[in-house]
Structures are given as C-alpha cells and as structure tokens.
Symmetry: C2
C-alpha cells in the first residue's frame, strides 16, 4: 500500500546514497532505528555504516547467525520478538546491513511487523548488490526450499556502496559474478562481452559493471513488476541452480555451495538445453561454458545427485500446475519463457557439463 | 501487487456470493484448492461449503487447532509446510472457512506463501463477518500481543452467508455485536439506534444490520485505506479492549474473554473518557453503557489488573513514539483521533465501569 510510492525502492550509489539516506532519516523521523546484521557484517560493515550515517542516537543492533541455513522462520521469530521487546512501533525503521540472507530476511520481517514498517537495504555482498537489491522480493526458506515464504515490498531506498566489497572473501565476489554473467546472457551481448573477462582488481571498471548489472535488473523489473513474462528471464539458470543449491545443502555427502556457484552450473545446463531446444548457437555455448569455468571450478554429480536435483526442481515457485518450465535462450539477449524440458534432456545437459 | 486490482476484496452475500465464487474458480483455474478450517468449522461449516460450492475435485482440507491461542507463527509454519508437502504452487488457492482466527491466519499464510497466492475468505462467525471480512488486514499474534505480524492483502472475494451463524453458540453472536455497536458509535446515530436494541432472533432485521455494518466498515476503509485518519476510528474501544483481552488471556486468575467481550468493556471506557475530554454528552454515555450491559455481563477488575492492562496497552500497534493515543468521540458519529489520555483518567474510567 504505502510501499507502492514511486520514490521507493530506488538504488543510490556511494556518496550520493549517504546523502539521500540522511535526508530520508531526517524526513521520516523513525521512532527507533534498528540495524539488522549477521555476525560477519557486525564486525566488518557496521563500523563503516555508523561512521557514514552519523546517527544522532546510536541505533539498536539485532544480530542473526550467518548463513543460508538460518534464513528461516525461526530466525524471523527471534527478530520479531526482539523488535517487540525493544519497543519497536509502526514508525520504527529497520536497516538491513548484509548479504542476501540479511536483506531478504530483514525485508520480510519489516514488511510483516505490525503489517509493515519501513526499511532500508544496504547490501554488502556482490550477490546482494546485483541481485537482491532491486525488485522488492524478500523472504525466507522453508526447510530446504528456497524463498518459499515472503512478500514483495519495496525498501525506502537501497544503498550501493562498493566499499563493503573490500570486506568480502574472494569466493563471495566470484559467487556474485554468476548473476552478472546471467544479466549479460539474458539481456545484452555488449554486457556479456564486458563481464566475461572482467579484471576484478580494476576497481573502476568492476564498479561500473556492478552498476550496469543493477540497471539491467531494474529495467527488467520495471517493465514487468508482476513477473508476467520478461521478469521470468531473471530466473535463467536458476530452475536447476536452485535445485542444485538445495541438494548440496541437504545431501550428507556434499558441502553447501554458494548461491552463485550453484547458479553457474545452472547457467551452463540451461545454455546447453537452449542449444538443443532453441538452436542457441553451438559455438556460443562453448564460449559461455568456457567463460563460466574460468570463474567457477567444476562440481561433480552422480546419477543419484541428478535424480535428487530433478526431484527438488518440482518444488520451485516458478512452476505452474506441476510442470517444470524453463527460461531458455535463442541467442545471447534473446529469451523464450515457459519452455517445457523433459528429464532426459536434463540428464544430457549434466553429461555435457561433466565432459566439458 | 496483483492483489491491488479493483475487483478484489469485495464482499458478496448469500446466493449471489456463491455464483460469483463459482465464476472466480472457473476463471482463475487454481492448480489446487486448499480449504483452511479449524476443528469447529470442519464439523459445522465444511459440509455446507462443499454442498454450496460444487467443486469438481474435492479440495484438500487443512485443519488448525481452534482458538486465539493458536493464532501464531507456529501454526502458520505448520500450514506453510502442509501446503508445500501437498504440492501447492503459485497458482494454488486457499479458501479460509472460519472465524477471525482462520481468516486472519489463512490470509497471512496465503499472502506470504511463494510471495502470495490467491485466497477467498468465508467468515463463519459474526465477528469475522462484520469486522475481519473487510479491509484486507490479516496476521497472527506474537506471544500475547495481538496481530503483531501480518500484511495487508485483499482476498479474491469475501462470501457472506448468514447460514453459518446458525452453527454459532449464543455468546459468539453477542461477541460480534460489540463491533456492530462500535460501528454505530463511530459512524451513525441512526445505525446505533437500530443496533442497540436489535432482536437477534428476527433473522431478516438482524441480517440487514450485519450487511449495513459491513457497509459502514467498507465506507471507512475505502475512504482511508492507509489508516491515515478516518480508519483509525475503527480502533474505538480497542486501545483498552485489546489490552484487556491480552490480560485476560495471560493472567493466571482470569478466564479468556471473547474479543467482543473485551471490546465491550473498552467501548464503555472510551465513551467515559470521551465525556471527560471531549464533552461527549453525559446522558448519552449513560445510554451507551446501559445498552452495552444489556448484551454483556460486567467483568471485574482489581487495581492490579488495571495496572497490567495499562502496561499492555503500550504495545498496541496503533501507538506512535511510545505515546498511547485514543480515538474518542464528541458525540455518536463524531470522532476525534490521536487523543492523549493520562493513566489517571483510565483508572477513573474503570471506576465508572465498576460502579455503574
């Protein structure tokens, strides 16, 4: 309702972001401000936020445990209860400072506490910056099923400050690159060419790519806020990627993957399937696979793993009436939604992945 | 998002309601339909629904335990998990068949499952018909704090069928009358005159009063969907009423009150306070008190009870920046929002209640 205002949900970067932030706080005069962090961002990011924000009163900090395993209703319940115990009211505000788990969970907690209080997202991981920061989706997992519980609600603003990336381990930077690669594949050959060989240590070039990635996502989400069609393309590589991520989380013989690591596999599989079904060019498939393996090591999959992954896929939110529907590509930047894919082809795609 | 469509959230009555219901099911073709009931409505209302609805395939039934004590996140988690286990997807639909606990909890579960699936509310208690069925508020309690977690989301439609009232115990009918009395007090002398002496056994007259009560609520909610001002009047009697209800639920020496029983006390207290602060006519106060005691027996309150109730009141969602703000009346149908009331006056109001 109030959340639908046009000015909401916008991403601002660097110094300008902090100016807008101060204006929003001054204008909305929250009765209390709460900062939601996990153990990592409390240590590595909170001091920077406090320095940049210049709060008159130091906000309350609410700490949740780090990691996807805690992105659930039990953690929400703790945060709701903490808010309630510490006297949060309808005019309180939550600042979510962290990766996708913190911004997704914090956004959901805020949107449902007293039927919705305002919140600001400050993504500190590359993945949260390029993916979770735009579009207002939030939520938590239900068991091993990702993002099953949530709403769509826009934050007052999103602060993009790439200073936070300096606190990230390298594998988390790489994980975020998977979504940037995806934005190239679904949207633009030009962006794909820039991102596929980016030098991450070149700050200025990389920061520009991050910003452009956000712009791509914003354009898609603005054109199709209700996910009728175009927005579905953001799911490219995720139908299998989510299932792979869930499987590695729950299988006793696997170590959990980072989201981007699972999506990277999903991107290769979806592109292979695109070649088979939509005549995506074979030589571009080779190039895509090569570029992704440039960033991401190969994962191993037994036949049992694949069977379990196909089974998990049936639970993906995007599926309709029990059918698993894929977003596929005719070429880079040319998508087709709602493609039916049979299991045999999925096994073949894994074979391609394993033998590359 | 999609939930904002103009045609959503409307209340339809009796036979017409069932026709619209069939059309909505035919048009939206849900992949699966789930009916949420509690133990009571499963027995007393589900057979009637199945008869009226004429489903092609018998929907899955999800049963939650009866009563406000189960209107919490633990129950939501059970329902979310059941939906997930039984293969609900984004195109599934939930029909909430029950009193306010079922419609409030079911609406919240639906609005947050996979970021929102469609739902239809069929209120079966008088309270849910005249209060919970309009306006899209839903949610659950957090500990003893009522409706702390929730969102605003409109059902596809609301079915008002007064046949369900025949299954209700008399005290639940009376409980619902509290909200109808409130609608008279905040909105219209004419309605107040009709409701204050209604003969509940006169079906036709009573059904008309129920419908008019819904119309009053609808008019208020439509004029002020975001609860900036007018909608706050619906909180008349509830600032203390909610706290009284919570206190009777958690105090070891009390039996839980029905919502309307607590609100009835709150209405008398708020009207007394209105007399003291806003010159609400003294003789009308006498009439209001008399009319309410006509339906509701007097409850007893010790000084300790009152202190605990005042303490609980501080947690009400409607409060801003720690101040407890009341809706009060200058006369029947003439409200004033955001009135500050000191604790001394609240003690005096309880004295008036006890000595009447």
């Amino acid at each position: 309702m109030e959340k639908e205002g046009k000015e909401k949900g916008l991403v601002y970067k660097n110094e300008m972001a902090w100016e807008i932030f101060s204006k929003i706080i001054l204008k909305s005069k929250p009765s209390k401000i709460f900062i939601l962090v996990d153990e990592n961002t409390e240590n590595h990011c909170l001091p920077y936020l406090l320095k940049k924000a210049g709060f008159e009163t130091i906000p309350e900090t609410i700490i949740i445990p780090e990691g996807e395993a805690h992105k659930n209703i039990a953690t929400c319940l703790n945060v709701w209860e903490t808010l309630s115990d510490k006297g949060a009211d309808r005019n309180s505000m939550i600042i979510n400072l962290g990766g996708g788990v913190v911004t997704d969970l914090g956004g959901f907690v805020a949107s449902t506490f007293m039927r919705g209080i305002s919140f600001i997202n400050i993504p500190t991981s590359l993945l949260a910056m390029v993916d979770a920061s735009v579009g207002g989706k939030n939520g938590v997992d239900l068991g091993h099923k990702k993002n099953q519980i949530g709403v769509i609600a826009l934050p007052e603003m999103v602060i993009l400050d790439t200073e936070f990336l300096k606190t990230l381990p390298k594998e988390h930077i790489v994980s975020g690159i998977a979504e940037m690669l995806k934005h190239g594949l679904i949207h633009s050959k030009a962006y794909w060419e820039r991102i596929k060989n980016v030098d991450v240590s070149d700050n200025s070039a990389f920061n520009n790519l991050i910003w452009d990635s956000i712009e791509i996502k914003k354009e898609i989400v603005t054109k199709d806020p209700l996910e009728k069609n175009l927005r579905k393309t953001l799911n490219y590589g995720h139908t299998l990627g989510h299932a792979i991520e869930s499987h590695f989380l729950e299988a006793s013989n696997k170590n959990p993957l980072l989201h981007g690591e699972a999506v990277a596999v999903g991107l290769i599989l979806a592109t292979y399937i695109s070649t088979e079904i939509l005549s995506f060019p074979k030589e571009t498939l080779e190039e895509v696979t090569h570029s992704i393996f440039n960033y991401f090591p190969k994962q191993s999959f037994t036949q049992n793993d694949i069977a379990a992954i196909i089974n998990l896929m049936a639970f993906d939110k995007k599926n309709r009436n029990g059918k698993v529907l894929f977003v596929l590509l005719e070429d880079i930047g040319r998508h087709k939604c709602n493609c039916e894919v049979n299991n045999e082809l999925i096994y073949k795609a894994f074979e391609y992945y394993k033998n590359f």
